[in-house]
């Protein structure tokens, strides 16, 4: 099969709020191939989580609704499925690791039950079989004494261990696509590194596709094959990891790379950041959404919105004045 596992086209998810209609996902297109790990990066608030929730069919309503586009998963348009059918795709076809495991796990339910209920639902297991499998999976995500810990509650786990439980829930039915929404952001650096190792291991074992959402380009460099950079609800650049790090095309990407702390800067705690703030989604600037913060902005950038176009050999960029283009 040559087609991608996940193909998102012109996705539009709007939030109908008192301040007006926000467009956290504003015409987003991308694909994830089988066995591929794709990064989705961007500053906080640019619509990464909303993109993920749109794929899972979990956009909070109200205030949100998917108003346009298509999401093909394994050749099937998820937006055409009725709720009941879509539910059978969750866990089995796509699993999601949420950002903060300390709130994403049910505080009054035993961890084993939280994993087991998923498998009972989708894999036709009875309670005993599901408990057995839950032990295996906890073991696989690196939780010591897995069998005893099945009957523990989330508050009895450390932050890192809780995130491992979250991962266990997301992978317990072997989904084709794993969506990880900043799973390590809330954790300290050592734990973060351990979890990245775990994800890499799991990926090598099963060769599944991963959509890795993060605001940390460092993590992307370690884990991903390809990256999409998102800004204010739109994908502004897409490239392989090497291309993106060597030759960023979009000034925003270049800015993100510049603000990545080097070892030297980590020591001196002097961090470069991109000037200004991401736009308020209720009052988007005209033309290119990035132009108020862009040092290359021209009149055209103020007037006309750039579209995502092929740039050079690989990759796409949405910019009137892309960098590092050698014709």
């Amino acid at each position: 099969m040559s087609e991608s596992l996940l193909q998102v086209e012109e996705l539009e998810t709007h939030l109908f709020t008192k301040e007006g209609v926000l467009k956290p996902v504003n015409g987003v297109s991308f694909h994830v191939d089988r066995g591929e790990t794709v990064g989705l990066v961007g500053e906080s608030g640019c619509g990464k989580t909303m993109t993920a929730l749109s794929i899972m069919g979990l956009v909070p309503n109200p205030p949100g609704r998917i108003v346009g586009g298509a999401i093909q998963l394994d050749g099937e348009d998820l937006l055409q499925l009725d709720d009941r059918t879509l539910r059978t795709r969750r866990s089995v076809q796509m699993g999601m690791i949420f950002q903060d495991a300390s709130t994403a796990l049910n505080p009054t339910m035993r961890v084993g039950d939280q994993i087991a209920e998923t498998m009972q639902r989708h894999m036709g297991m009875n309670a005993a079989e599901a408990a057995l499998h839950a032990t295996e999976i906890l073991d696989r995500v690196g939780i010591p004494a897995a069998e005893q810990r099945l009957s523990d509650y989330p508050h009895q786990f450390s932050g890192g261990m809780r995130q491992r439980v979250m991962i266990a829930i997301a992978i317990c039915c072997n989904p084709e696509l794993l969506i990880a929404d900043e799973p390590t952001t809330a954790l300290d650096v050592t734990i973060q590194a351990q979890l990245l190792d775990l994800i890499r291991e799991l990926k090598e074992d099963v060769g599944k596709s991963v959509l890795w959402i993060t605001h940390d380009l460092g993590v992307v460099a370690e884990l991903c094959d390809r990256v999409m950079v998102m800004y204010a609800g739109q994908v502004v650049e897409e490239a392989t990891v090497e291309e993106l790090f060597l030759r960023p095309r979009h000034p925003y990407t270049a800015g993100l790379l510049d603000s990545m702390p080097t070892l030297e800067e980590r020591r001196q705690e002097s961090l470069k950041t991109i000037e200004g703030m991401p736009p308020n989604m209720a009052r988007m600037p005209s033309g290119c959404a990035f132009h108020p913060r862009c040092e290359y902005a021209s009149e055209r950038c103020v007037e006309e919105m750039p579209v995502l176009e092929r740039s050079g050999r690989e990759g796409l960029v949405a910019c009137w004045h892309p960098l590092n283009i050698e014709e």
């Binding site: 979990l58 539910r87 949420f98 994403a104 998923t118 989708h122 509650y153 508050h155």
Partner: protein, 313 residues
């Protein structure tokens, strides 16, 4: 859970001792001398200082405070609440007859209050901001805005005089009689706003929690998401508050039983207070306090059952 239970029960003991002490002290220091009151009632001419002193000795009222207290506690532990000054009969058997009436009334009211309140609160939460939600909350608020001593005569007038559904609603024919319906309904429905509001707000808060989203992300049917993940977490505050409802029912029974002439614990309390019948006052106060403490203990234990974070503290 066992350590938690033991801890809770042990904490319960000093509270009971405190209640026994405070109840007795209130009676001891309270207004009106029981001997004087009684002597005046029986024969005012006998009210000379000498007779009063002698009666004090007979009733053991001249002993030191703590000795009297110990004596009182000892008797209560044996089920002896002393004699009513008014009727000169033992209070114990009276309580044994009257308390079950109030208990049946209170239990029936509690069940309707709890189950109805939780049901309506859940409905309101799931239909949040629709007319169903507004209707439920609005109605409960409206009913709650009338005090029971206004509602009781009002509903009696409607049921007996206007609709002529019953010849009379006064008195007690047992919990399954038609006469019991009105007091039970009044009792429960007037308190509905509490559990309805707590259930509604608790569920709405839980509905927006991340773990509910996780449950949906698992692909569970909405029915299971609500039952397993929303309801159990959302009802913790309701269940905890139901303990407070019991104290409402205990104090409410004073008005309600008096209004409906139900010969229960509440009516007995009111009669005792009016007659300054000091042993009855102490007995009913003590029972009321124990009921409230007992329900608080049960609440605490339920809290532990429902929320593991409390249990493992």
């Amino acid at each position: 859970m066992l350590t938690y239970t033991i801890k809770r029960v042990l904490l319960f003991i000093p509270t009971i001792i405190a209640v026994l002490f405070i109840t007795f002290t209130l009676g001891y220091l309270g207004p009106g001398d029981p001997i004087q009151t009684q002597v005046l009632r029986v024969n005012p001419r006998l009210a000379d200082q000498e007779t009063i002193e002698r009666l004090r000795e007979v009733y053991g009222l001249n002993r030191p405070f703590l000795v009297q207290w110990g004596d009182w506690v000892g008797k209560i532990l044996r089920g002896d609440f002393g004699k009513s000054f008014a009727t000169r009969t033992d209070i114990g058997p009276t309580i044994a007859y009257r308390l079950p009436i109030s208990a049946q009334l209170g239990a029936a009211a509690f069940v309707i209050l709890a189950i109805g309140g939780i049901f309506l609160g859940t409905l309101a939460a799931l239909k949040q901001n629709t007319w169903i939600d507004h209707f439920i909350v609005g109605l409960a608020l409206f009913i709650n805005s009338f005090p029971i001593f206004v509602l009781a005569p009002l509903t009696m007038i409607v049921v007996v005089l206007w609709l002529k559904l019953l010849p009379s609603t006064l008195g007690w024919d047992g919990i399954f009689s038609a006469k019991a319906i009105l007091p039970i309904l009044l009792f429960s429905v007037t308190g509905w706003i509490g559990p309805i509001r707590l259930t509604r707000n608790g569920l709405i808060e839980v509905l927006s929690q991340d773990y509910v989203r996780t449950a949906r992300a698992k692909g569970l049917p909405e029915r299971l998401v609500i039952l397993r993940h929303v309801v159990k977490n959302g009802l913790i505050s309701t269940v905890t508050s139901l303990g407070l409802t019991v104290s409402g029912i205990v104090t409410g029974s004073l008005f309600l039983e008096a209004a409906f002439a139900i010969p229960g614990y509440g009516y007995m309390t009111v009669q005792g207070v009016t007659a300054n019948d000091y042993n009855i006052i102490m007995a009913t106060t003590l029972i009321g306090a124990l009921l409230v403490i007992g329900s608080n203990l049960i609440t605490d234990l339920l809290y532990g059952v429902l929320d593991p974070r409390v249990r493992y503290e």
